[in-house]
Symmetry: C4
Subunit: 364 residues, 4 copies
């Protein structure tokens, strides 16, 4: 059975202060993109195969050279101590236990070195999400510490030159105090921590360079032309995402953007040896991931069928963290992986590459 | 008038224990496919012809060599004694009386030899639905008994390598006890009765062989490529089906899959003489049937216009069985056949082949 | 302002016996086609022209040689004395007063010769709707009387080889007694009055012949191939219609069928001189009319833009008849014509031929 | 944050007499076009770009030679003293303060010379909306006064050969008394003030001529062919508009019509030097503007992405005027401009020409 994420969310809403719940749950503007995300993965019927040998179903996948038990990964989300006292330590531990990739947010409320220890202990993999902050020295310092601590890649959030405006966030100021951000600062001007609105494709190579050659994944890409520009600039992978409906309201759901981006990148040449992306998908292609509204094993199946190599899950992880700490996160991710395996068996696709093409016509 | 199936269902729900009703009525996951099935047959407008001579309307059809009064057939469903004390004996008798094909489930709660006698007495035709069980000896024994008892074909359920997960089936365990399954077992390990997840196209020929040459119909096909693979492997026919919305949630409705499958098979060569499918549709094509959500004569008309030679009805037969036993089943099937004949007259199509092409544009 | 037909219907429902209201208002089966008819005329946006001289707007049209003030015509409907004591006499008078064509039903409850006098007095035009009854002598007699009385055309209802089954008509038997049908019978076997289910295209010429050369209009055509077959068989015009949603439930709305039929007929050769259709649309084309769900001037505009030369209105005329007799009918038809003229001015189309092409993309 | 226009409207409804509110808020017929306008701008997903330098976002635009801080302009609306005692003086002042173009209605309730002074004082730009009145001498007088007072262009309303019929306007007669119309009349026959139903493309040149060479913008164009005809007749620009859903009910939303009109005009030659349109968009193209349902910065972004150079806002300006006079209008327009700039940053489009192409697939 799929994890009951709606129930998890209801429980988390009861547990959390309203301002925290709203900060996590809300989207920008009229929340059109937020609402569209979940249903978008169900916009095409699935076209299962029959009479395939599915006695053994394999959900393992390689993400930029790391072998993981599942293509379901933890999306970077901010201020996790607001959800649970252990914050990012618990999330990272839960992910590692489930064999899932963990992406740590720049706005983490636990020190990245401590997170790294937690992940290493469970044999896991983690990446660091970064902004190119207005004060670039802060980014240089953060990235070098992450590389030293064992981060396997950087995830540059590209869709946030300015922060989307949300109705539900009266209380957000409380969360953004410098003392919660243990990995950056302290700074005299809080604006130094903001993403620079001047970040461009050239910064992909800059990030690779300052990190000593880590692969750079670009998060927030919705257009084939942008995906190709990322690849040409040395990106190791792109994440099709609308930032969980928190940036431009009206931006397309990832499920709409994914096929075009995947098609464009499937023929793009992979990153060269000098970009730090040598552990990527190999010659001839740049891998595509996706996030936004993934809630069931069937959703994961659809995302992979539409061209994603992995999917990222954000809010459900926060609800699981709030309700159950590391165990809650591990149970959620294992549950989604098990539901994916079940759906793969029913679809006649015993491994992830065989999921390609099981998408049918649009739901009428 | 069409039979009032909604009323039949309400009456059956009142009569049956809730767990039994839920077991019959439920679907897998979020029941998206379950809900879509019924409305899918109404997704295109009908395009009736006028000024045709319809003084005589003929609903007879040939199914793998058997002549039947109606293209409306009884789908295989499990544990019919839960609906009525006479179980499959009543359903088979009702179907035969209405001139309709009856398909007996492997999970029948009446002995197949007794069912065979019942059908033969009324001059009817029956097929056996089979799984390739993990313990293949059980399947061999079952198939040989069916062939000896007069089954005219085998129906291999292809969409169930594992069983779909349903929310509504807290009570199902009660129904699956070995003593209800009178045609297979007893077994020491109940898992021996499950379909093997390793069943493949090669098992089509195996079933034909162990049955001494019975035609093998593949149920659960939704893709043109799979349909062609079935035909190439010796299938005598395919049933476009999503298992009544009980397997992969999100799988396409039969009405969506049918045109593509029918188009693919219309040009595929028919089964060869050595495959046991010699009573099939003849040289040059493999017939297509469909099930899932058929509730009215107009629905049957639509299915035939979309390329089906016959349709199978599942849950409505169970409601009719629960409410009226053999007579209930006969009334339901006769009622649907009469409603089909009425719709054929209004469509200017006095015989089933003339129904081709009466489908118009999608409902807006 | 458009006539408030919803209000007229509410008033008529209050005035009429429930069984009569249900008989008029109901449709066949699940009433899917009935419900779709009204909204179908609004399925495309209108694309008005600007900066055209619309100081004078002309709604006059030629229908099979007769000049009429409006393209809005009265559809044939049965048993009008159930709506008003004057029955068809009132409807015919109202139509003539509004400059609208009147079509008398075979199931009229007033003598056709009396209706003819009424229409002639007001300088109007009427046609007779006919069935080819099982007892053809009845049809011959009826048609000859109509021709003698001044009917200008025959309208053969082609979509009724058998009568559609309706849920709402418990009381219909009361209306079908022979003594209400003053133009046919009396007969010993009521089935003699039913349309023969064996009527075919050949009967078009037969009707022209027995009428002494009246044009024969075919009502109930939804397919381009059938429209072409009608033209080839000598039809003077076709009416795209699903019989007000009273025959095959699920049949396409006229608005869906109209463009295809109009396109097919626009290039079909017109009826030859020997078919009685010499007063038709002239060499090179067979005109198309439509009915089903027309309720506003904008609906009429849409129908004409989609290829109709005229539209027929059924139920609203019955509500107007019930509420206001001849005056009510005249007001309704004049009101629709005035609303059409207003819409033509706003669309920059001062005459009916200029309405072509004012249809835009489908409503999203 | 976007201005909360729904809240402004609720407050205005509370402040205004019901008949005035209804006059402003209502649309023609069934209000289908009225309702469709707002949602039409959200019918396609937005496709934002990433990794563009958006440190500086520029919303300035040139409209027929005038440089304005924003592409959001004030649409001409009648009888503004009904909303606020200062009427058009307040609206014009608010628009000028926000750097927005103001279009004065012929049915202004403040003298155009006074409005002109108000606009000039704030360094703004204004255009005059005109009808070609039945009594052309009235139009000649009005246009010459406007030209003398500093109007930079004329806006000919082309979609009003007759006035659309509205249900909600019982009280309108009260507003149309001659003494409210301070810029035209007094006249003995009020019909003299109505637009002539005989206005055609030739009147574009006539307006340019009587104004001494002002550019003539045509408002109400929905068809590419009409747009081309306007350009050929010397129009300086066209406004894609359905008159706020107040004329032909069922006319397409501007968002539907805009791409076709923009595509047609993008290749049309611009107006010649003798037409008074020499301050237009330059050689080779005629600019396109749009109105109808624009309510957010994202809506403006969508309109520009679909081909508009500017958008006009009608009802929201009236609500702002009613609630806050000139300040209210300025706040509304500044707020929309700020929200547009925010959306442009999030879309990776730091200037208006870069907004082209950020439209994705239709919302499902």
């Amino acid at each position: 059975m799929n994890p009951d994420i709606a129930r998890l969310e209801r429980r988390a809403r009861d547990l959390l202060p309203p301002a925290v719940y709203d900060y996590y749950a809300g989207g920008s503007g009229r929340e059109r993109t937020l609402r569209a995300n979940e249903r978008s993965w169900r916009r095409n019927w699935l076209a299962p195969r029959v009479l395939r040998d599915v006695r053994s179903v394999d959900t393992t996948t390689g993400l930029l050279g790391a072998r993981l038990r599942t293509p379901v990964a933890v999306a970077p989300t901010a201020y996790q101590r607001l959800a649970h006292p252990d914050g990012e330590l618990a999330t990272a531990a839960g992910a590692a236990r489930a064999g899932a990739l963990f992406v740590l947010s720049t706005r983490s409320t636990r020190r990245l070195e401590d997170v790294a220890v937690q992940v290493a202990r469970a044999g896991g993999t983690w990446w660091l999400q970064v902004y190119v902050m207005r004060n670039r020295a802060l980014t240089i310092d953060l990235v070098r510490r992450a590389a030293a601590a064992g981060a396997q890649a950087l995830v540059l959030t590209a869709d946030t030159p300015v922060v989307g405006r949300k109705r539900r966030e009266a209380g957000e100021q409380a969360f953004t105090e410098a003392d919660m951000l243990v990995n950056v600062g302290p700074v005299q001007d809080p604006a130094d921590l903001d993403q620079s609105a001047g970040v461009t494709f050239a910064d992909i190579a800059w990030l690779a360079e300052i990190s000593g050659g880590l692969p750079v994944v670009i998060k927030g890409v919705l257009r084939p032309d942008d995906a190709l520009a990322c690849a040409a600039a040395g990106a190791a992978a792109v994440i099709v995402s609308n930032h969980g409906g928190r940036q431009l309201d009206g931006a397309m759901p990832a499920a709409s953007a994914l096929p075009g981006v995947a098609a464009a990148l499937s023929t793009a040449p992979g990153p060269g040896p000098g970009t730090g992306a040598g552990t990527g998908a190999g010659a001839g292609s740049v891998p595509v991931y996706a996030d936004g509204g993934i809630r069931t094993g069937e959703d994961v199946l659809a995302a992979i069928a539409l061209g994603a190599q992995a999917v990222f899950v954000g809010r459900p992880v926060l609800w699981a963290l709030a309700c159950g700490g590391a165990d809650g996160v591990a149970d959620l991710l294992s549950g989604l992986t098990d539901a994916l395996a079940h759906a793969m068996a029913l679809a006649g696709a015993p491994s992830l590459p065989q999921v390609a093409g099981i998408i049918g016509e649009p739901v009428g």
